[in-house]
Amino acid sequence: MLEIRNLHVAIEDGSKKILNGLDLTIHNGEVAAIMGPNGSGKSTLSYVIAGKPDYEILDGEILLDGENLLEMEADARAAAGVFLAFQYPLEIAGVATMTFLKAAMNAQSRARGEGELKTPDFMRRVKLGAEKLGIPQEMLRRGLNVGFSGGEKKRMEILQMALLEPSIGILDETDSGLDIDALKIVSEGVNALRSADRSFLVITHYQRLLNYIVPDTVHVMSKGRIVKTGGKELALELEANGYADYVSDVAA
């Protein structure tokens, strides 16, 4: 279970406050969707949960299964089960995707007290996962995300999520940049990972994604706070009416 209480966050130099008393609880097995206008702080929230160093936490707490995430480094949070599919995945030249996946999976199994993965096991798991997401084998030999199209990068994020088996997967606008077929494939990939002890936080601007990944709860974010929470029908309503009802001054 992920519990966020009264979270206040500013960017590191203190020049700008982004999250303003945010409360959010996601239960095990739950898929929560967050929607909200550009600049409302959705990506910032995902970064703060994952432990990006550029922010100053002014107040509040983030607990994952009772553990205080804010006291941990980013890699320790990953080991504790946090996975973030980036809105803009990073390119790492010279590091073959396969090499990166192996390093990440080994780090994960080490953190779980399991031994290093045997190469054949690793290869089999990657191959299987890649096939499901329509990622050609050839891509795994290329530098991580280097020259990948926008959609290919997003698929690669989901492949990593599938391989690392997190307890909470945060998807930041994974649907943007995906063509219609890819949207289906990626959604199926996510749905296949749904389980009673794994939860998801899905950040999106479009209700369409939520037709494929059907959320249990939908939250509206504005100016760094959750201003409305409802069921999946809330997304439909937002699609029809925009944020005006929940956000007093959207344009600002």
Partner: protein, 489 residues
């Protein structure tokens, strides 16, 4: 080098400070009086029992050196060196001239063992490596032992210390010494000619493929002592040799000078592959101490279709001034330079190569990867030139810099010069940085800051590491990550 696994483990065990080879060995030593003069040159020559022609050669170099000035064009800064404040000869006293390994001072064998270089042949054979490597171990000013000599002799290969070669093979030494790097080539090279103390000599006869890797392991142990090594490798027609060079020094507060000269000669269809892992003590984080590494390395592709390939992994030294070069004299000859230069702390690196195309259809390839961290400065300086007769000369240069942190610098200084219209030079250069975004991305996937840096750096240097012999590559990779420890987070 030999027992890689062992070495890697030892390196891990010695994990107290960033530099893992900083220990020193207590030994009784035979030293020249401090300072530099004709008498010192005579002293060294006498200690080595050299013939007159060698002494004359040295004295001539010394007199010329007195008239020369230190070069100042490199992007390195250091206080003026007082050449009279150093010792030019230091040799372990016990068994000054050991005939067999059993006569070598056990303290020295221990020192090499600690460095991961077992010198006893049975230990080498018992090591994890299946391939054999013959080692010439140079401790301060003298070669203490050369392994697998007998076996090499059967193949006709001469592998011994240069001191021994001067006495045993004077006709070869006289013919080739100074024929690639002339006595007055440059300030440090000329100094080396006057006071060089030891180094390796390799002669591969016509048509012979050297049956094992050869290597020299240089260790500076004594305080205030310069090391002036001299290496000469000759590959006759159609022969091949792969040669490795490694080096370390204890951690000391004062700067020590290392001014080596390496000369390579390849005749028709011959090939020399020369690899270096340079890990002299780099000084502490504030730039105190460390080796001044002023080195002249040059290969002469004298014969047609010959090839010389330099691969260097430079992680040590306070200052590195080093440009392993190729003179492409023979038609169709080829020169290669693969380099990884890592600088951290206050280290200064000014390194690169020269590819001098003289013959027709000569080709050269330069791949340089510079990694700067801390407050270090890392300069690639490379010259490619084509002579009037060098029809169809071809060069490809790729020069990449990676910056870690905000306070370091990377610089690229290419000199291109073509006097033949048919010559084609290609030059690519990039500078990149390990961004905080990349770091966060990696750490989000569970990698520690060190693992993430190592992963990115390994990706960056991959092309060059592939050029090293397998056992060396593993060690080099390890060394690079050790050198960069503390550069992140």
């Amino acid at each position: 080098m030999v027992a890689v696994k062992e070495t890697v483990e030892q390196v891990k065990e010695l994990d107290v400070d960033q530099y893992k080879y900083g220990f020193s060995t207590d030994l009784e030593v035979d030293k020249a009086p401090k300072g530099l003069s004709e008498d010192i040159v005579r002293f060294i020559s006498a200690k080595k029992g050299e013939p007159d022609w060698m002494l004359e050669w040295r004295l001539d170099a010394y007199r010329r050196w007195l008239t020369m000035v230190e070069p100042d064009w490199a992007r390195v800064h250091y206080p003026k060196i007082d050449f009279n404040d150093s010792y030019y000869y230091a040799a372990p006293k016990k068994n000054a001239a050991p005939k067999t390994l059993d006569e070598v001072d056990p303290a020295i064998l221990d020192a090499y063992k600690k460095l991961g270089i077992p010198l006893r042949e049975q230990e080498i054979l018992a090591g994890v490596q299946t391939s054999k490597v013959a080692v010439d171990a140079v401790f301060d000013s003298v070669s203490v032992v050369t392994t697998f000599k007998e076996e090499l002799k059967k193949a006709g290969v001469i592998f011994c210390s240069i001191s021994e070669a001067i006495k045993e093979h004077p006709e070869l030494v006289r013919k080739y010494l100074g024929s690639v790097v002339p006595v007055t080539d440059n300030y440090y090279a000329t100094l080396n000619c006057a006071v060089f103390t030891d180094g390796s000599f390799v002669y591969i006869p016509e048509g012979v493929r050297c049956p094992m890797e050869l290597s020299t392991y240089f260790r500076i142990n004594e305080k205030n002592t310069g090391q002036f090594e001299r290496t000469l490798i000759i590959a006759e027609k159609g022969s091949y040799v792969s040669y490795l060079e490694g080096c370390t020094a204890p951690q000391r507060d004062e700067n020590q000078l290392h001014a080596a000269v390496v000369e390579l000669v390849t005749m028709d269809d011959a090939e020399i592959k020369y690899s270096t892992v340079q890990n002299w003590y780099p000084g502490d984080a504030d730039g105190k101490g460390g080796i001044y590494n002023f080195v002249t390395k040059r290969g002469d592709c004298r014969g047609a279709n010959s090839k010389i390939s330099w691969t260097q992994v430079e992680t040590g030294s306070a200052i590195t001034w080093k440009y392993p070069s190729c003179i492409l004299r023979g038609d169709n000859s080829r020169g290669e330079f693969y380099s990884i230069a890592v600088s951290n702390g206050m280290q200064q690196v000014d390194s690169g190569t020269k590819m001098i195309h003289l013959g027709k259809n000569t080709t050269s390839r330069i791949i340089s990867k510079g990694i700067s961290a801390g407050r270090s400065q890392n300069t690639y300086r490379g010259q490619v030139s084509a002579h009037r007769k060098a029809t169809n000369a071809r060069n490809f240069t790729n020069c990449d810099s990676l910056l870690i942190g905000e306070q370091c610098g990377a610089h690229t200084v290419p000199y291109l010069e073509s006097k033949n219209a048919s010559a084609v030079f290609e030059h690519e250069a990039t500078t990149s940085k390990i961004s905080e975004e990349q770091m966060f991305y990696c750490r989000q996937r569970g990698l520690s800051a060190e693992e993430a840096t190592a992963l990115i750096v390994n990706g960056f240097v991959k092309d060059v590491l592939q050029q090293l012999p397998m056992e060396f590559a593993v060690e080099a990779q390890k060394l690079i990550s050790i050198s960069l420890e503390g550069s992140v987070g």
